[in-house]
């Protein structure tokens, strides 16, 4: 993992002191709320429905045991004993006081963490493939680039007052697990098809929210050493030309859309042509950062573990958990293990401080003291020996963290919604809980197979509902919470926006509707066909009648 050097250390410490001073100036009235708001947002602090909320950056989703323990300590000392992992690989505390925020940030700085730019109209915390450094389909580990971008974007003098937030994702693998096309900018590390040279493909203009758009390729191949200059060019075009007259039209996706891809590309390329080049700094930085991500000492192990195979045979519950939790590791005898934070009926992504501490121990014992946060609000232990899996699973079970549902219908993504969020139009968590309970039976879930349900509590789409196989959007209709259901979205290389199935439902109709859609799939699927494959083959319309039938029954 990357460790702060003296510059990083000084930077975050000074940043905390700066925020302490900003808070003092706010309390004295020197800063008005309007002036203070962007400053606190750029330090991750929101004012939510019940209290302040502090969003802590987990850059590219990588966390150490030591850091997780510190988060547990903060949860106990300054919050209410739990935290919430978000779809952007961050962690939120729901109850901090403004006056405590500087002390919390100091505790974060103690373990090389911060809350910088987890909110506000600036370049947000950079996300990456949660299987970085592990995946077999990886061309290059994306984390050095992501760390470089974390530093480059931090307190950027030119790009801290953008028209709107700006999200960057990086992947170095052939399969896009970071959903680049749903980001303002996506950086894909790839090999040039002819020369074999490693460089970057740059996408821009993706995003969800009120007007979902799929990111487009701005540059097919950007040689190494030119990334910062190219991103500077994109940012400058966006900062200058992006709309500021309407919050809902201010993201870069609208600019790319309104200018047209070619005109946008031309603008970026001409900016890039005249801008300074930081090739030497960039190359040197990447060379400095990269070794910190390749320090794990793996044992020489056979590809097949006899202990593991025997345990699976002897214990079917374990075998069930293994089915979806494991991701193949590039090193023989190891696996990356996804740990579901979606217990049946629980709050998606929530973790108690006790669980954090126990999990930190597990990561130390079984995974070199490292863990990852996924955008699906789950955790990953990236380097577990196959031999250790059974022991790991048993310990997880005791912590309530062995739910065998990764990628299944109850592995639901849900934003905080109206239970916490000031912008929400409806609740999302109770909807997730109702669906989760409905499909809680393990055999039934496995029978249904891979199915992603994603829920947002308002049009801002933090729950990524547009790209859920089934998406649910909470709105307000005639003074009631009302839910729109979409079908056919996909958060993958084939990024697709789901289509609306019909009129909005009340909260207690949603689980029934999902059940009817799923029943339609089970009735019509071909052998081995997954839910989304069946939707693609049959078309969304094929599911509409089932969806509407129930809605009419309810109305009658």
């Amino acid at each position: 993992m990357y460790a702060y050097d003296e510059f990083d250390e000084r930077f975050v410490r000074e940043r905390v002191a700066q925020f302490r001073d900003q808070v003092a100036r706010r309390l004295s009235g020197s800063l008005t709320e309007d002036e203070f708001r962007p400053l606190r947002l750029q330090n991750g602090l929101y004012l939510q429905l019940h209290a302040y909320m502090l969003r802590i950056a987990i850059p590219y989703g990588v966390l150490s045991s030591r850091q997780l323990r510190q988060l547990a300590l903060i949860a106990d000392r300054f919050d209410k004993g739990y935290g919430h992992f978000t779809t952007r690989q961050n962690l939120q505390f729901n109850w901090p006081k403004l006056s405590d925020a500087p002390d919390i940030l100091d505790l974060l700085a103690d373990v090389g963490m911060h809350a910088i730019q987890t909110s506000g109209n600036c370049i947000r915390n950079v996300t990456a493939d949660h299987f970085a450094g592990v995946a077999r389909d990886e061309i290059e580990d994306p984390r050095p680039v992501a760390e470089l971008l974390r530093q480059w974007s931090s307190l950027h003098p030119e790009f801290s007052f953008l028209p709107r937030k700006f999200k960057v994702a990086v992947t170095g693998a052939t399969e896009d697990r970071a959903v680049l096309k749903a980001h303002d900018v996506g950086v894909r590390i790839l090999r040039h098809p002819e020369s074999g040279e490693i460089g970057y493909q740059i996408l821009a203009g993706g995003g969800l929210g009120r007007t979902p758009m799929i990111g487009k390729v701005v540059r097919d191949f950007l040689p190494k050493g030119q990334l910062l200059a190219y991103l500077d060019a994109i940012m400058r075009v966006y900062n200058s030309e992006g709309r500021r007259d309407n919050k809902y039209k201010a993201r870069i996706k609208i600019l790319v859309h309104e200018l047209g891809l070619d005109a946008f590309r031309n603008a970026v390329e001409s900016e890039f042509a005249v801008g300074p080049n930081w090739s030497a700094e960039e190359t040197a930085e990447l060379a400095r950062i990269a070794p910190s991500f390749s320090k794990i000492a793996y044992d020489d192990l056979p590809a097949v573990s006899r202990i593991f195979e025997a345990a699976k045979l002897a214990n079917p519950t374990f075998a069930e958990w293994v089915e979806n939790a494991l991701f193949p590791h590039r090193v023989a005898g190891y696996a990356a293990v996804t740990i579901s934070l979606k217990p049946v009926g629980g709050v998606p992504g929530d973790m108690t401080s006790d669980q954090m501490r126990a999990f930190a121990d597990l990561a130390e014992r079984y995974s070199s003291g490292e863990l990852r946060v996924t955008h699906a609000q789950n955790l990953v232990l990236p380097h577990v020996k196959l031999d250790d899996l059974f022991d790991l699973w048993r310990t997880l079970g005791a912590l309530g963290l062995a739910t065998a549902n990764v990628g299944l219908v109850t592995d639901i993504i849900a934003c905080p919604g109206l239970d916490y969020c000031a912008l929400a139009t409806a609740r999302s968590i109770p909807i997730a809980q109702a669906i989760s309970r409905r499909f809680g039976d393990s055999a039934r879930q496995r029978e249904i197979g891979p199915l992603q349900i994603k829920i947002s509590g308002c049009i801002n789409a933090c729950g990524h509902h547009h790209v859920g196989h089934i998406g649910i959007l909470g709105l307000e209709k005639r003074g009631q919470e009302s839910y729109q259901v979409t079908l056919g979205g996909e958060a993958s290389d084939n990024l697709a926006i789901g289509e609306l199935l019909g009129p909005g439902l009340s909260a207690d109709e949603v689980a029934d509707a999902i059940e009817r859609i799923v029943a339609g799939y089970l009735a019509k699927r071909r052998p081995g066909e997954t839910f989304i494959e069946a939707v693609r083959r049959l078309g969304v319309n094929a599911f509409k009648s089932a969806f509407l039938r129930g809605a009419q029954d309810a109305a009658a």
């Binding site: 930077f11 100036r25 020197s30 109209n121 530093q151 307190l155 007052f161 400058r236 700094e281 400095r288």
Partner: protein, 169 residues
């Protein structure tokens, strides 16, 4: 209106109507002013969406370009300053608008020399606060901004130094 630079408050040697001394005119009046006052010290005030090309022909004749910040949250002026500097403007760059002290370092890093504030800012935000904000963060990561070297450049220099001393050893 109050004007400050890196050192603190300063007197404004420009005005918007005075015929003696420096004058700042709107972009629409630039041509005629240049024609009429060949010898004078002339500045121009522009909105933050003016294309650099429109001003570039006048760079040599312009002592100052003032960029309006309609609101402190509108960051277009930072990029425009940067573009003007990149295009070779070497005169004074002034930010005009309700910036807050915490934006001072950003403004100077992007190429501004001075900030003209509305009177209302003065009541709440002191010279000391502007000075403190300038020193809040010692080094920025981004290369190419401000006068001081970035963290990226410092690290590189430190490594080069280390390597050199090693090869001399």
């Amino acid at each position: 209106m109050p004007l400050l630079d890196r050192m603190g408050w300063r007197t404004d040697d420009f005005s918007r109507d005075d015929v003696d001394g420096g004058i700042i005119v709107p972009l629409a009046a630039l041509r005629s002013t240049l024609d009429a006052r060949r010898a004078g010290v002339i500045g121009v005030e522009i909105s933050n969406d003016v294309a650099v090309d429109r001003l570039a022909p006048y760079f040599a004749q312009l002592a100052l370009i003032a960029i309006a910040f309609p609101a402190f949250g509108d960051g277009r002026g930072f990029s425009l300053a940067r573009r003007l500097r990149q295009a070779g403007f070497a005169g004074r760059l002034r930010a005009v608008g309700p910036l807050i002290p915490d934006q001072g370092p950003y403004a100077f890093a992007c190429g501004f020399d001075e900030i003209e504030l509305p009177e209302a800012s003065l009541a709440r935000q002191s010279e000391a606060q502007w000075a403190a904000a300038l020193g809040a963060i010692s080094h920025a990561y981004q290369p190419g901004y401000a006068r001081q070297t970035s963290i990226f450049e410092r690290r590189r220099a430190a490594r080069a130094h280390k390597q050199e001393s090693r090869s001399h050893a």
